[in-house]
């Protein structure tokens, strides 16, 4: 494989990483039966919180953690509206996107164009020298390596642990789960906030590793792409990884083609990720994604009489 392709694939992994974190987060949330369409807003808030923390403390690691916490906090608003007040999950998620985007742009405006400390590539000794795999996967930054761990961990958690089973059964059939003595509302709170944490990490990746500076509108629709990828991935972590790198690849490819000055109109290239999202959704619906969807997704539990 030539150098161009390898560097493109490495860039695909990097630009796919924020989408991967967000997709994993939304999978966790939806598995508990809560649909959170606020991913875009959560990413924006996570990105800003991470950036500001890193800027003031000088510690990107602390920034990353705070980005996740900010995401969890905002997701908590969604949980409060949907679980505490029986609000419609679709509308609440949309409101969260509007709120989060506005909040990040409002508080971030004084910092537009400022650069802060962040993560840079840290090749893993040994692995980085593997042919092909080394340059693509193991010459990235620490946050990318963390996402490699997050995928199998989420997979194991959902599939093989008691808690994972409880969380899934709350999402599949809340009435039956409650009859079995599970705290349905409690598990949904956990699913939503933990999912928000992962989504916030995705935002933090954008401001700490993907760029090292703040711009308004940083996430540019990546949160929505993550929402679509959950469906494409049939709510499975390992497939989310594939999907996220596919989109990362498209974004990296589009940037490179533009830089290379091809004769293709650049607007056509810019449309690519968004058009691909629609295509991916159509493909997923042909393959009967409904059977993979948590059966209780998006349906509120009526309070007991």
């Amino acid at each position: 494989m030539d150098g161009f392709t390898i560097s493109l694939l490495a860039a695909a992994v990097q630009s796919g990483t924020p989408i991967l974190y967000a997709t994993l987060g939304e999978i966790l949330t939806e598995k508990s039966g809560i649909l959170n369409l606020g991913v875009e807003g959560i990413m924006m808030v996570g990105a800003l919180a991470a950036f500001l923390t890193a800027l003031t403390t000088g510690s990107p690691a602390l920034g990353f953690a705070v980005g996740g916490l900010a995401g969890a906090l905002l997701a908590g608003v969604h949980a409060a509206v949907c679980l505490g007040f029986q609000g419609n999950q679709v509308v609440s998620g949309l409101a969260l996107t509007i709120l989060g985007t506005g909040l990040a742009n409002f508080l971030g405006t004084p910092f537009v164009g400022k650069s802060g400390p962040g993560f840079t590539a840290l090749p893993i000794p040994g692995l980085a020298d593997l042919p092909l795999l080394g340059p693509i996967f193991f010459r990235q930054d620490v946050l990318v390596y963390l996402s490699y761990l997050a995928v199998p961990l989420l997979w194991l958690f959902l599939r093989n642990t008691r808690w994972g089973l409880d969380l899934r059964s709350v999402g599949e059939n809340p009435a039956a789960a409650a009859a079995n003595g599970l705290n349905v509302v409690g598990w949904r709170w956990i699913g939503t906030m933990a999912g928000g944490f992962l989504t916030g990490l995705g935002g933090a990746y954008l401001s700490l590793a993907y760029t090292h500076l703040w711009t308004n509108g940083l996430s540019a629709g990546r949160g929505w792409i993550a929402v679509a990828l959950v469906i494409f991935a049939f709510w499975r972590a390992e497939r989310a990884m594939l999907g996220a790198y596919l989109f990362g690849g498209v974004m990296a490819f589009q940037l490179r083609l533009q830089a290379a000055g091809t004769h293709l109109p650049s607007s056509l290239l810019l449309m690519l990720p968004y058009a691909l999202t629609v295509i991916v959704l159509v493909l997923a619906s042909w393959r009967q994604m409904r059977s993979a969807m948590p059966a209780g997704l998006g349906i509120n539990i009526e309070p007991p009489d």
Binding site: L37, T97, L103, F106, L107, Y274, V278, S285, P303
Partner: protein, 352 residues
Amino acid sequence: MAITIEEKTSALHPLATTALAVVPVFLVGAVLFALLGTDPLEAYRVMVVGAFGSWFDFSEVLVKAIPLMLTGLSVAVAARMLLWNIGAEGQLVFGGIFAAGTALFWAPHMPPALVIPALVAAGFAGGALWALVPAVLKARWNVNEIITTLMFNYVAIIFMEHLYFGPWRDPMGMGFPGTAMFKQVAWLPRFFQTRIHLGLFIALAAAALLYFALKYTPWGYRVRVIGLSDRAARYAGFAFGRQQVMVMLLSGGLAGLAGMGEVCGIHMRLQQGLAVGYGYDGIIIAFLARLNPAAVPVAAVLLAGLIVGGEQLQTATHLPASISLVLEGALLLAILGASFFNRYRLRRTRSR
């Protein structure tokens, strides 16, 4: 002591809960203002006076309310049939593109009396066309319309930029991101010596028409039945998919009219600044109005006041105008939460 929840038919009136919801929203805003070192009371005063302080300021609120009424109606009519049209933004853009194309290339060769009707038709058609693909995908294969309509927003905006940076660029524009200005015949008439244009009456007429159509026509009956339960509607033998497509086209067309109004009533050209989020505001307006077309104009004026107030605040204090976005999102969340008290009431009970 414990608190129990019970369902209650005569819980709080919707207007009361809406008023209740405003309180936490203003508190959130106050905290944000304080964070940026501004006196919250002064900031709110600037916003209110800026939006409602004089007839001129209020006329600007009405000007802003025109596209908001139309996108609000767009979202509301789709939501009445359990369809989530998050694509009003892109449909608005396409309505604007179609209207601009008509104004630039056809209007000069048309009998003047036909120009305005042609612009209106083009705006509606552009918006409807942009809703067509998501509508068909939804009806045919049940593809999630929330995400498809949203993705189409990005595509529409990129396409519009391509047009005014590329083939439609004003050759005399000295690099201005926009088309040439339209001939005067393609300008929507303005009223009361303000920027209020024909779009206001189109929007109000659309709201009235939709209200009566939903309430009194067989079509409205079908929409309401489907909105109550899609299973019941299928059982009753309604042509479900076709209804979905029709409503989405109507929804897209309404948003397209909003774009036409902006392009032919305000900018008089297709230019940067058409896609400023009115489509997303439409979601808030639709739910503020509880999906009732008759209430949409009122909600649109309120939200327009918030937006104009935010802009005035930016001019006066250099605080970012995105504060109105924050307040909008918080308002929608608070209203969702407060609606709980329309359906339930809390009662203190003795713990066992």
